[in-house]
């Protein structure tokens, strides 16, 4: 027997040698590409630990340890393999990242290949082997994807498991039995043993919060309960409710809140200056209008990406069509609505300070907008492909820059856009407070100018220099008005110096810059000067300009300290950008030039064609039309997935911004496709999708499980409806709504509710100065707008919103987090705002002379009457608290008319302080205060505060 065994072994190893070669081509080499070569060869300058894996020789030789890394035939003596196992004592686990570790199958490949002698065919042979085996391999390993311009052939030939490409596959609408009376959503969810339907009160509360972000009134609850009691008419009653809510103007506000989370809306630029984006609110209101009008979603997409390239929209008032006839330009100015819509492109934080390199800042915009378009509409995080072909998805760097090329002629501007009739332009009279601040700053600068002139005289006297020349220059400067035309404030001193400089007087013969300035003066001068600069941005709120873009050449800039107006000639004085692949994402390392394009994988997998012109105009229109094509499976799936999330608190595909292979796969892919196909069939009507989703049994299910096994209650099972905590904005808006204080007016310049006073007055460093304090609007009805309208400053967040998980507007928020943390208790139980609401609620109920105040409070807060024990407990508490409250007296709080700022002056490193005037507080009318109320009201407010803090109020079932 022995000889035969030997023969078999020999045969096996001969076989192995042949297999090992194709194993290398098919498995090992691609694995090296994916996991190793980034640090061990691709970048010659940055080879880690001196170990180069590009050739067999260097792979054998090893790195700085001096030990041979690869011993052909002996995997267990090859550190290359041992390190990959992550279990060997002598070798650091490779690849270093836990998340990158090799699967056992992959380890086995390496082991087998080394055992087989570690053959390493050259590139030509590799290609030949790959070609010869192509059919066999793709049948076994998945498919290759045809993309444009991959950086390496290995990446281009990478294979994908079909399931990881699910997002690209054409939408396939599942065929449902036509006869079935089962709702298609329920048919596709196929829930076994579902929980029963929720009761009427729960349903109207759920639907009203979901579609408007507000609670139903007790009267609405009663009406619906009565409707619902007619069992034969329930479907109609439910549909009537949905339709009523969809017609509510608050529907648009609710959808806008969701949408603005995704696009990162804020009213300021972020970063060092955090300048106000005075006209961003017009974009926010545009989103509200669009949802309310049920603007077809494809049009919504196109307007946001390319509105300025279009000529007129069907909404709003067309403006300034006379430009062409006036002969100014052959261009027809698009109407304001379309210009405003493109604010989307600029939602990311952005600025250009004098410290920064302009080209770098420009590239930041381009990277931001490319990624944002990808995440928002295509559920693709594209930034991964900025420096290298995408690690997991078929997105080559070439695609990234092709998409970026669509924006190469896009320029930022605050451009003229007359106000539309549909915009709310009330409240502009608040401008007077900004004017007051402006006057204050000008006065400070004037006083400092006068001080400098006095210091100058002293200086001349000390130096014993004849003041005649200086005095003459001052007189001359004063004649010219003494205003620095460029800066817009009084600067006689500077003007006089300039005159003498021009006369060629030696520098030691007239006073130096900022002569005799003390630390306090440095500080005050800077605060006033920068304050004027910041006001320019705030004043934009009231001006008919849109936060928008235009097409043209890139004009060189050194900094952006004021709103950017359109240039006279878009094609002059700048560079027509030619997009190229940037080595390492560095704008100073352009490599291959690219043309405008889209995700190239979609042409093969999704059968989606595109054509993008290379002209200055029209690139974005073409891109937008490709995105908004009814055949673009990424787009339609992305939006219906979000809509589902907004109703169920969980998406079908669990990462709504990432359909790539690392994102969570859809739990119900057929349902997702059904929704995507239906959206297109229904003319991209979002409202139709709400009707579809909400009429399902799944949406109407109770959140009470019939079985009591929590482990089995996976949310994605849809056995019950998953309850959710109210969002930060819902909490605040609901409180205002039930106290009757909510001002339901739609749209407006941002308002400023009262926020925690310590945060409001907190000094906040911005470039070179302090930002102005947060001063609330003077009147309660101005402050009590919906939270959507509150001024959103990136560097100053309302702590109430923040602790209740309002996302920071730096990154797109695909789904809100819900956490339960102690600061929430401090905000909601101790905070002034919720106490004010409790008092207002108590006051409302007592003013209404409700027969049973406790019941009324319950109805308003929970939409139900109290149970007997609840009523008893609350009544007792009310009485006891009245006794306590009767012993307490309250004084009326005083509003601060100024605040003292203390800081370290950056020029001198010395402490300095100044008074910041708060003119906005002069006319302040406070909310109802304890001092205004009797003990009975205040005691009822204690009960109200408890109810507003209760779990029943905070959770939606």
């Amino acid at each position: 027997m022995a000889p035969r065994v030997i023969f078999l072994l020999l045969a096996a190893s001969a076989l192995q040698a042949e297999d090992a070669e194709s194993l290398f081509v098919r498995r090992v080499w691609p694995l090296f590409q994916e996991k190793c070569l980034a640090c061990h060869g691709n970048d010659e300058k940055k080879i880690k630990a001196d170990y180069d894996m590009r050739t067999l020789e260097s792979a054998i030789k090893g790195g700085e340890s001096g030990v041979k890394a690869l011993v052909p035939g002996k995997p267990d003596e090859s550190p290359l393999y041992l390190a990959s196992t992550r279990k060997h004592d002598d070798w650091e686990p490779m690849p270093p990242k836990e998340a990158d570790q090799l699967k056992s199958e992959q380890l086995a490949w390496i082991k087998e290949w080394i055992a087989g002698g570690a053959p390493w065919p050259d590139e030509a042979k590799r290609n030949a082997i790959a070609k010869a085996s192509a059919d066999k391999w793709s049948a076994e390993d998945g498919i290759t994807v045809k993309v444009k311009g991959a950086l390496t052939p290995e990446w281009a030939n990478r294979r994908y498991k079909p399931e990881s490409l699910w997002g690209y596959q054409p939408v396939k609408k599942p065929v449902l039995s036509a006869q079935s009376s089962v709702h298609p959503v329920d048919a596709l969810l196929a829930v076994k043993e579902p929980a029963p339907e929720a009761d009427a009160r729960t349903l109207i509360r759920r639907a009203t919060f979901d579609l408007t972000g507000l609670p139903p009134t007790p009267e609405e609850v009663a009406a619906f309960e009565s409707d619902w009691s007619d069992v034969s008419d329930r479907s109609d009653a439910w549909l009537r409710l949905i339709n009523r809510l969809l017609e509510s103007p608050h529907y648009g506000e609710r959808m806008a809140r969701h949408w603005l989370d995704v696009v990162r809306y804020a009213d300021s630029s972020g970063f060092a200056n955090d300048y106000e984006r005075g006209n961003a609110w017009r974009y926010r209101d545009y989103v509200v209008r669009s949802f309310n009008a049920d603007k077809p979603f494809d049009q919504f997409i196109v307007a946001q990406i390319a509105g300025d390239e279009m000529q007129e929209s069907d909404a709003g008032t067309p403006a300034r069509k006379d430009a062409a006839s006036a002969g100014k330009s052959a261009r027809i100015t698009p109407d304001s609505e379309l210009l405003i819509a493109t604010g989307f492109l600029r939602m990311g934080p952005w600025e250009l300070t004098g410290m920064e390199v302009a080209k770098v800042a420009r590239q930041r915009f381009l990277d931001d907008v490319t990624n944002s378009v990808g995440e928002t509409f295509l559920a693709h995080s594209l930034q991964c492909a900025r420096c290298h072909d995408h690690k997991f998805d078929p997105v080559p760097t070439h695609d990234y820059y092709s998409m970026q090329a669509c924006f190469a002629t896009t320029q930022l501007t605050e451009r003229e856009a007359p106000f539309l009739k549909s915009e709310n332009t009330s409240g502009f009279e608040e401008k007077k407070y900004l004017e007051a601040r402006r006057a204050e700053h000008l006065a400070v600068l004037k006083a400092l100018d006068e001080k400098l002139l006095r210091n100058a005289s002293k200086w001349l006297a000390e130096k014993k220099i004849d003041p005649a020349k200086w005095n003459a220059a001052v007189a001359q400067a004063k004649q010219g008005g003494g205003k620095n035309a460029k800066k817009g404030f009084s600067d006689v001193f500077g003007a006089a110096r300039q005159i003498l400089t021009k006369q060629g007087l030696p520098e030691d013969q007239y006073p130096p810059k900022l002569v005799g300035f003390e630390p306090q003066d440095f500080g005050n001068e800077r605060v006033a000067r920068k304050g004027l600069e910041r006001l320019k941005w705030e004043m934009e709120r009231y001006e008919p300009y849109a936060f928008s873009v235009y097409n043209g050449v890139t004009i060189p800039m050194v900094n952006v300290y004021q709103p950017l107006r359109m240039p006279g000639d878009r094609m002059k004085n700048g560079e027509l950008e030619q997009t190229a692949i940037l080595g390492g994402g560095d704008p100073f390392s352009p490599t291959t030039k690219v043309k405008p394009g889209v995700l190239s994988a979609t042409s093969q997998i999704s059968n989606l064609e595109f054509q993008i012109a290379e002209g200055v105009e029209g690139r974005r229109t073409a891109l937008a039309k490709w995105i908004a094509s009814k055949n673009n499976p990424l787009t339609t799936r992305t939006i219906v997935n979000r809509l589902w999330l907004w109703h169920f608190g969980q998406a079908i595909a669990g990462n709504p911004n990432n359909f790539g292979s690392t994102g969570k796969k859809p739990t119900h892919p057929e349902l997702l496709d059904f929704l995507a196909a239906t959206l297109v069939e229904k003319g991209w009507s979002v409202k139709e999708m709400h009707r579809l989703i909400m009429t399902s049994a799944a949406y109407r299910r109770t959140s009470f499980p019939t079985r009591s096994k929590p482990d089995e209650l996976e949310n994605s099972s849809y056995v019950t409806f998953t309850p959710r905590r109210l969002m930060a904005e819902e909490l605040r808006d609901a409180m205002l709504s039930i106290t009757g204080e909510l001002n339901p007016t739609l749209g407006c310049i941002p308002n400023r509710p009262e926020i925690n006073i310590e945060v409001a007055m907190q000094p906040r460093m911005v470039m070179g100065t302090f930002a102005a304090a947060w001063v609330p609007n003077p009147l309660p009805q101005q402050r009590h707008r919906r939270s959507l309208y509150a001024l959103k400053i990136r560097g100053l967040r309302d702590p109430f919103m923040e602790v209740f998980n309002e996302p920071a507007p730096d990154f797109s928020c695909e789904a809100r987090e819900v956490s339960t943390v102690t600061p929430q208790v401090f905000s909601l139980f101790n905070g002034q705002a919720s106490y004010d609401r409790a008092l207002a609620l108590a006051n409302r109920v007592l003013k209404e002379k409700a027969a049973d105040p406790i019941s009324r409070v319950f109805e308003l807060t929970f939409g139900r009457k109290p149970a007997a024990d609840e009523k008893a407990a609350c009544t007792t508490h009310w009485q006891q608290m009245e006794v306590k409250q009767a012993q307490t007296s309250f004084s009326k709080p005083k509003q601060p008319l100024e605040v003292r700022r203390e800081a370290v002056e950056e020029n001198t490193g010395e402490k300095f302080s100044f008074q910041e005037k708060l003119p906005g507080y002069a006319d302040f009318v406070p909310d109802l205060q304890p001092a205004d109320c009797d003990a009975k009201t205040r005691a009822l407010a204690d009960v109200c505060l408890v109810l507003l803090n209760s779990n029943e109020f905070a959770y939606l079932y």
């Binding site: 990242k97 836990e98 730096d810 819900v818 943390v821 102690t822 006891q880 001198t908 490193g909 803090n949």
Partner: protein, 474 residues
Amino acid sequence: MKTSFFPCSGGRALHAPTRREFVYGLGTSLGSVALTSLLAAEQKGPLAPKQPMVPAKAKNCIFLMMEGGPSHIDCFDPKPMLEKFHLKEFTREGKMKSAMESGKRYYVKSPFTFAQHGQSGAWMSEPWQHLAKVADELCFYRGCQVDSVNHPTAMYQMNCGNRFGGDPAIGSWVTYGLGSVNQDLPGFIVLPEISYPQGGSANWGNGYLPAHFQGTALRSKGSPILDLQPPPGITPEHQRANLDLLGKLNAKHADEHPWHDELKARMNNYELAFRMQMQVPEVIDLEKEDAKTKELYGIGKDATDAFGRKCLLARKLVEKGVRFVQLYNGTWDSHDYIERAHGNLIRGVDQPIAALITDLKQRGLLDDTLIVWCGEFGRTPDNGVRGGTAYGRDHNPKAMTIWMAGGGCKAGHSIGATDDRGMEAIEEVHHVRDLHVTLLRLLGLDDNKLTFYHGGRFKQLSQIGGQVIEKLIA
């Protein structure tokens, strides 16, 4: 009963309650004895202490953030060459020219004299009088570079790894990885200046990590934690009565939703908040410290009082088992008048920092506590000299000095070097991500394992992975 400061689970939007959370949530209805035993059996709340991933050199970290960009050239990295070039014209060529460089620029020498201190011969400028006495405790690192030339982006990068902000701060990562010893206080506490730094509270934000790991700012003025106390007129007994009614209503509601554990978590939270309300003022009260200690930290002296209080509080917090304390000081952004500006700034922190090191050491805490001193970048050897003779320095992301003390760093050494003008790091040069990886390593964490799945990808402090700077480790 030990419970966490933030006792409940985070990130709940997209997943179902876990078994652990469910059991944890049952706590209140079973009473504290049952809760304690349950917690002993199960893993505790999100801040429960965890074992380090790799052998740790330090358990806690005190991070001294000198916001604005302290000048290495005027603090710890003397450049005699600048004496020679003083007020000679400086030109920088190339693409990275920014508007900061408009106008003529000149080399400027340091206004301070330098001397070597300690056995190690560490270089320090003249205003560092007290730190000089503990020179041998320090490990200087001169090789670090960052990407951004603007304050907030550089601050974000130094604190959070990502210069565009919105990512978790290093203190959040550390508490996420290690939990915290004291469950009644936050694991990551920040002591900001009265005015917040550029970029605001995002500098200590939890980013995509659950909110329990957010830095909690103890404000130096007003209420230390926002709304820690109820509005005026509401006494503790009054509030207790309100809480009892809330407890009653919530208990009834929870009975109707027995499986919904978030409800219990939220109920616990109210009780914990009530206790905190009583305890926090005591924790931060420095008045009970003895006069000698206060004097050591420079408390009561105009220049050093503010930062002295922060340093003393930091020591107390670390003693109480807080994992990560970050102190802010600034602004060190001295574009002009560097002699006056940096002189004052150094004198404001010098004694308090030296006291902190001395105090920790005498209490046997220095070995377990890693102290880090840095800004978001260094400063340039050149300046526009717009203040006449009163020159300053501008932002320099390519060179800076960072130092560490305690916690397993290579005390008594200076690692890395900048060129002869202090313009760029040239020896042992590392991107800030490597510094982050090193700090995590000292605290027993492996950056490559300390990841969080978010937005469809595993994310980490270093963004893309980095390497440990071995030379900084003892």
